[in-house]
Amino acid sequence: MLYDRADPASRIGRRRRVAARTRLDFWFDAVLLLGYTLAYSYGFTGIAIHEWLGIGLGLALLLHLTLHWDWVIRETGKLLRPRGHDKLIWAVNLALLVGMTLCVASGIVISRVALPEVGINSLGGPFWERLHVLSAEVTLGLVPVHVALRWRWIVRVGRRLLPRRSGRGREPRATELQGPGPGEQG
């Protein structure tokens, strides 16, 4: 804990900070999902957007992993405990990390627009093309699972961040907003 439990001011500051972090997580992950959906739809975007979006997505995923590194450490340490749900999430996330990394890496290797743009000729071959297609299809199965396993957090934060105009939705409370992050709830 970085803050003093006894100090109410620092506690409020932490609430604000965590709420801001929750907002960042929510919107950043939403943009990631949108970006991934577009990048996967190669026939929709065209090759240039597909490749540049894929490279951007690779960097964004590195940031996503960095932001949730605490969760990675904590849950890896808990692997031996007899509780199934988090282990499933951990396994899905690991598979997604491997799949997404291989997908972006193989995509860079077989690039026909982005790499030549920076003066590098395509290094790819049939192996990398097959790996790209295969890893892309694996990630298409895993990304929605990764999202859905946190659906309660998404609904809870989404309700607060996207209040209904009719006024039926109540105002967010700091204690509710801080809640556990997408990689923190059980």
């Binding site: 026939g43 975007t45 065209g46 990390l97 990394t101 790996l131 299809e137 929605p144 999202v147």
Partner: protein
């Protein structure tokens, strides 16, 4: 500083996966290269002034520019591709919309399935706990 430490660790994990991929390509590329194609569309890359295969239209303008023509099960799809053109034309081409819809349908379907399974699992666990609790609380001797 903490962020940079985490970034370094995350980059290290990603680098390990990339190195494993390179090792796979080097030592076991035959495990993936041959064999049936995984729904890979036939692609025809056109150069400047290239000619379209018979029976295909180039879409806007009628001339095939540098780009890719993908031949799928539903016929050809023109994907514009020029160095400084992001191909927004193909993105807003209604004929290419089914590709996006296809992705969204798969994602929504998987999300819905996982949510339903999760709800059912939690519900059954809750009812099981309630039964356990009721069995603990209920004592026939207490009845008077």
């Amino acid at each position: 500083m903490r962020f940079l430490r985490h970034l370094g660790a995350a980059a290290g994990v990603v680098a390990i996966v990339v190195v494993l991929g390179l090792a796979w390509a080097h030592f076991g590329s035959q495990t993936l290269a041959p064999g049936p194609q995984v729904r890979f569309h036939q692609e025809i890359v056109t150069g400047p002034g290239g000619k379209l295969p018979a029976g295909m239209s180039a879409g806007h303008g009628g001339k095939p520019g540098p780009g890719v023509i993908r031949v799928g099960r539903n016929g050809p799809t023109v994907v514009d591709s020029r160095p400084f053109d992001l191909g927004l034309g193909s993105m807003f081409n209604p004929v290419n919309l089914p590709y996006l819809r296809h992705t969204v349908v798969i994602e929504v379907g998987v999300i819905a399935a996982v949510v339903v399974v999760d709800v059912l699992r939690r519900r059954s666990r809750r009812s099981w706990r309630a039964q356990q609790l009721a069995a603990e609380v209920y004592r026939p001797d207490d009845e008077g």
